[in-house]
Symmetry: C2
């Protein structure tokens, strides 16, 4: 019944080590940081912080920069920084038309990366994941050559992932079904798999400017389908089975067109990529005659170009899509009372045309008094899922530096 709480010295030490690392990471965005600044930031004594710092220096997480290194701005000597040589996180992304892998170090810098355009829409998961494995191996090698030690692999997928497992239960736009990534990605790195919208939202939470990144938001992301991730009080809301955030299947018009999910009039039937392109009269090129590869991006670029040129069908389709997004998001906002609604993915690039109708519906249908949530376009954009994946590994290491040290 009680909330989980550390009940041992060991757990308390682990948490305090993590707090020191995060304090150095946060304060260190503007450069090296002193022990005193770390102590002030986390509310421990200078002596306690010194002991923790020594342990983290010994374990190779922190480096001490001599007094000469901290510059002439009056900062006290022996400034601290996170290492740029230690553990790193490997993030990977399975997109509908691309694969991407990157390595991020403790400082949060991307140190290696590979990307490959694919046409895996109808692809067999085994061959797609074999190619992903090759890219991962290359990035791991690149990271090693840069003096980094990969601590784990996190993969973002556009589908439903059973919570706490590496199994993609359903990814309609990949044609995957009950696919266990662990079976296809051999290797010694610990593996985590997560829905792309979730990793995208975590990237927004983790990579925003300190103090200004929203901690309560709905992150709408769209590749082919429309997904969302919900972060409240700084925590990602996964749902019982890991399937939370299916914004694309909120009923917008209960007697509307049939949806593949079994429902009718779902948001995707109005604002999903296929519905939008169809309504705008833009050919996706993925029909029987299409090559598949690049069809989506080309079609979306065409939609933008025509909208910019004032094409009536395109403007009308985008207006309708914005309206449907506003209706569905009003429901989500009334249910969740977030601070911000962030548009990411393909929707971000269409924001100028979606926003007016979206904003109007939200304004009209938000029940609570006071201002409606801030509507914003994701700053990280389409890099979010990949970066969120890599950072999730980095944070796992930082949350428990002792176990990482023990296992390597």
């Amino acid at each position: 019944m009680a909330a989980p709480a550390p009940n041992s010295q060991q757990e308390m030490r682990q948490r305090n080590l993590a707090r020191v690392l995060y304090a150095v990471a946060a304060a260190g965005r503007t450069g090296p940081v002193s022990r005193a600044a770390v102590a002030a930031r986390i509310g421990l004594t200078r002596a306690a912080v010194s002991t923790l710092v020594e342990e983290l220096v010994r374990a190779g997480f922190l480096v001490e920069l001599g007094p000469g290194r901290s510059g002439g701005v009056g900062r006290p000597g022996n400034a601290l920084a996170l290492t740029d040589l230690g553990p790193c996180g490997i993030g990977a992304e399975v997109g509908v038309e691309h694969l991407a892998v990157c390595a991020v170090d403790l400082r949060g810098q991307v140190r290696a990366g590979r990307r490959e355009e694919t046409s895996d829409r109808e692809g067999d998961p085994a061959s797609v994941l074999r190619l992903l494995g090759v890219l991962v191996d290359r990035v791991v090698a690149d990271a090693g050559a840069a003096g980094l030690r990969p601590a784990g692999l996190a993969v973002a997928v556009p589908g439903l992932v059973a919570r706490g497992t590496s199994t993609v239960v359903r990814a309609p736009n990949l044609g995957w079904h009950d696919t266990d990534l662990a079976a296809h990605l051999p290797g010694s790195l610990p593996l985590t798999v997560e829905n792309e919208a979730n990793f995208g939202a975590l990237a927004e939470l983790w990579l925003g400017e300190e103090g200004t990144a929203p901690r309560d938001f709905i992150h709408v992301s769209a590749e082919v389908g429309i997904g969302a991730a919900i972060v409240l009080d700084g925590e990602l809301l996964r749902g019982r089975r890991g399937f939370a955030g299916e914004l694309g299947h909120l009923p917008v018009r209960p007697e509307g067109p049939r949806c593949a999910c079994g429902g009718r009039g779902c948001l995707e039937q109005y604002a999903g990529e296929a519905a939008l392109l169809r309504a705008a009269g833009v050919d996706t090129g993925t029909g029987t005659g299409g090559t598949g590869t690049g069809g989506r991006s080309a079609a979306l670029a065409m939609l933008r170009t025509r909208a910019e040129a004032g094409d009536t069908a395109c403007l009308e389709a985008l207006h309708r899509a914005g309206e449907a997004l506003g209706i569905a998001l009003a429901g989500a906002v009334n249910l969740l009372d977030p601070q911000t609604v962030l548009l990411g993915g393909a929707l971000a690039t269409l924001a100028p045309w979606l926003m007016p109708a979206l904003e109007q519906e939200l304004q009209q249908r938000t029940a609570a008094p006071g201002p409606v949530p801030q509507l914003a376009v994701s700053a990280i954009g389409s890099q979010g899922p990949l970066l969120g994946a890599a950072h999730s590994v980095v944070r796992k290491v930082m949350n428990d530096p002792l176990s990482y040290t023990a296992t390597r």
Copy 2:
């Protein structure tokens, strides 16, 4: 950036004291409990638990029952129980047609209670809260006479409460607007105010059978309006400003009837009490000629009676309301992936007629694979908000027994 964590011995001791209290509370549902059983339950050593127990006995939270008291079932001597004399929580509820107050002790037993039917629909908050204050005083006196010391007062209201304040921002069914309860409820007891659906949901979370109470659920509650509370991973989701759970204003049909919230076709326009009674052709008696008092309950009883008798208009109205509930809840389920949907409040008593259509819509519109969430009727029912309020005070004491002891 890091999760909050205890960083001092003092905080760790506080948490461990709380864990002992919750362990005794949970194990103690079937009778007194030994130190060894507590130690096993929370994973601390017997010696550590003994030290904590001594402190809690000294502070008057736990009582030791001599070996003779623990019965002949072989249980080791000096069994422990929570006191039935120490601190208690005072819970209060402002209903549309009633006021209620109760006192709950550390064991979770209701030890005193008062209830008064009112007609405060159009009432001035000052006079309603004056009457509530009188009831609180009486229950506090009753609790004192029973050897209890009230530790705080928590009030459940059918309206939006600004998070972390005692201000009811809006309670349309009471006619309240920016009403600060602290200004109207003088007295020395620490005051908390919360939406009734939230306290109702917390009661479900806290008072269910150990191990079987859902930890991820949407609790739908209806008095005059339709509200909901969302509990995920055992935590109440309040929203940024405290306004989460406005299920009644999820758009069901975007071009539907105008709603007082400014939207159109909100769930309340189909399944709210007024809409339901109107569609069923049941007179509420609260019009110009009505007395107000008892009008709602009488009208709802009439609706049930007619539905039982097979009245077509009533059955059709209930079917439509169930359908609308199903559409809105499908949206909520797709967004949140809960384990259970609990129907409480007035809806619970109408469940037999609402459920078939509700269930069908939910089945059809749930996007995630696998079984749809379990649909259940609240076991605690209309007592939930009042009990949740009183228990919230009790849990605040148990979460931090040291401060309680220090302040009394």
